[in-house]
Symmetry: C2
Subunit: 434 residues, 2 copies
Amino acid sequence: MSEKKRRRADPGPSGPTAATKKSRARGSSHAHDLRKQLKPDSEILASLRRMYDEAQSAAASSSKTLTLSDLNLSSACREVSDCDASSVKLAIERAILDIARSILAGRGFSFDVPSRSASNQLYVPELDRIVLRDKSSSRAFANLSTVRKATITARVLSLVYAVLLRDIHVTKRDLFYTDVKLFQDQSQSDAVLDDASCMLGCTRSSLHVVASEKGVVVGRLVFTDDGDRIDCTKMGIGGKAIPPNIDRVGNLESDALFILLVEKDAAFMRLAEDRFYNRFPCIIVTAKGQPDVATRLFLKRMKAELKLPVLALVDSDPYGLKILSVYMCGSKNMSYDSSNLTTPDIKWLGVRPSDLDKYQIPDQCRLPMTDQDVKAGKDLLEEEFVKRNEGWVKELESMVRTRQKAEIQALSSFGFQYLTEVYMPLKLQQKDWL
Amino acid sequence: MSEKKRRRADPGPSGPTAATKKSRARGSSHAHDLRKQLKPDSEILASLRRMYDEAQSAAASSSKTLTLSDLNLSSACREVSDCDASSVKLAIERAILDIARSILAGRGFSFDVPSRSASNQLYVPELDRIVLRDKSSSRAFANLSTVRKATITARVLSLVYAVLLRDIHVTKRDLFYTDVKLFQDQSQSDAVLDDASCMLGCTRSSLHVVASEKGVVVGRLVFTDDGDRIDCTKMGIGGKAIPPNIDRVGNLESDALFILLVEKDAAFMRLAEDRFYNRFPCIIVTAKGQPDVATRLFLKRMKAELKLPVLALVDSDPYGLKILSVYMCGSKNMSYDSSNLTTPDIKWLGVRPSDLDKYQIPDQCRLPMTDQDVKAGKDLLEEEFVKRNEGWVKELESMVRTRQKAEIQALSSFGFQYLTEVYMPLKLQQKDWL
């Protein structure tokens, strides 16, 4: 773009209020300096390609990722894995057969259900995930305190079996509505569904019970959704909605050099409209806030199959980091499924507390942190996944100290396209992530 | 599907609790009777085609829709319309020129801003929309009580001009962040943005300031999103995310016989996975709850260009109807933009209060209405758009009387695919909508 057009269009330095003019002009001239630091795209691309090659060869040399059995933990810990419909059906049939045998042997009707309580959870640093220990409890039919749950468990297993037979997918809400009188409350059928997942050793998505999707993807990715070939460079600005059922997703192909994980849809829209992925080949994905299961599964799948580095663009506040932690380490109430839902090794590109000064984000775009924000920040400093990364600790400490936060949108104060034209390219050029 | 497979898969009648067995079996046998009432698809399709032809010829004979000027209200009322970027730029230039002239003539610097308050709103039954009366107020720079708002107005106009010059789209949040010191609070820049829209006579989307999208679409529709051709029959189960910027949407083509507007994403997923649109050619769209502006614009656009009947599938509760009302009549705080956002003539297909008995929805799937629900229902009975439709009044009265509500998912109690295999086909066969 010509300098003239850029200047004319840049809304930064032409404000009407005299008072703000000086500070804005200073911030804006700094923004201009940063723009001049940008090297030609070809140089940035060459450096990105080296990073890509490293990620590919690292993935090739460590031919498999570490598992519980590598750590001799497979008997002491429990995880679930993705299974195809016929394996899940077989697992259900086996469970029912075991019960039949137990009844015939005079030992009665009882399920052996893994405990999912916090006391049975374990953070494994080598895996960088939370997993379940092996504690389990008996859920007997002939016992007043467990008869209800045993009945619900049998019902849920039979419903899942019916869903798998039909080869369809349903939501947790659908499942609940098939027997409201028995389940009474959706939280009951939901909890037993998680139990069933642990019992059978299969992920919840293997059971064909899915959460509703809210994520979108755009950029250099081609995949099939239920057999339809989707080219994400041809999805306009709206992007492709991430499918709720990951087992219908297949044939991932990409010439991207990295995956850009974006917290918010406003930033996603900016990047999509500017077709950022054509300038720097990448796949852009967002869950529009708190990550849902479908988006986490989709990211994990892309990372595993395409072996691309993942860079994250989140707000500079404790919640931005919390969102990263959900993608990376999982949430506590689905710890049994952590290996299938988590994508370790996500790089924190920005917006980082140190960016606020580096990019001279104007004071009025920085927001004061509330006491609750500060507490959330301090809590994060105690988390294992933060402690392991010295750079993150420093950034988080500085956030808590300065009590300042900022949204990705704060970059708009230098012009609406500053994100795509200066901030992101400079970040990529300087490999400025942690 | 063979009767055998269906029976095996139907989770309805094989529950483990003896107590619920009888009532469930009764409901399920009724469900089975309804299934037998279904005629061959070819007959249902022929009747749908007649409905489609009627809609097309009705649209052709009333070659234009009623406008304010047809009712001699154009001088007394105010509406905005979709304008292209160059007309909006021209309108801004004219507004600024007018002010320059006013200053030169010694009358000072002042904006004439239409009032958007409730007292200036008018429901026009002929249009079935809320519009603005012509009251406006002067926003002078040389007046302590209006100087701030006048300054903000000038700033917003200049920002919108910059966005249009660049031919990009931004969010309200982006706009706010370009001058936090001046705007102080996003509600202030948002409000002035609506003012600017009224002043210029252009819709907010014409100003290229967009809301984030959350809607998805799937089915018999082909369109272009920012130049990319999107075939919505090839969007898998996830569907295509509806673009935030309607002005980049074009070239709509369809062989659908109707549009199916769905309140919730769970029902959307069921319909998409079962590829319902291949059995009954239709376009399926959802905003996943409360309709956002992008989805409303998209629906309006489809209805206007394709002239298809619109059938709505919502929960049987007051909020289901409220959602319909937003699609049909608009929301009060954007009444100046009602003609561009609203799609009148949406048919209420279900789930209606009378469906609960007709389809013998089991008692345990009906939920008691709270006092707040009942109040919301009674409030709706006072609304013009309900009063005009006798069938709606009856249904709503029965809902308030029985104090029962039900979600779309309640149909899952007869099997997960009851919605797509029995309920929807029977509704279409019987033309059972109001």
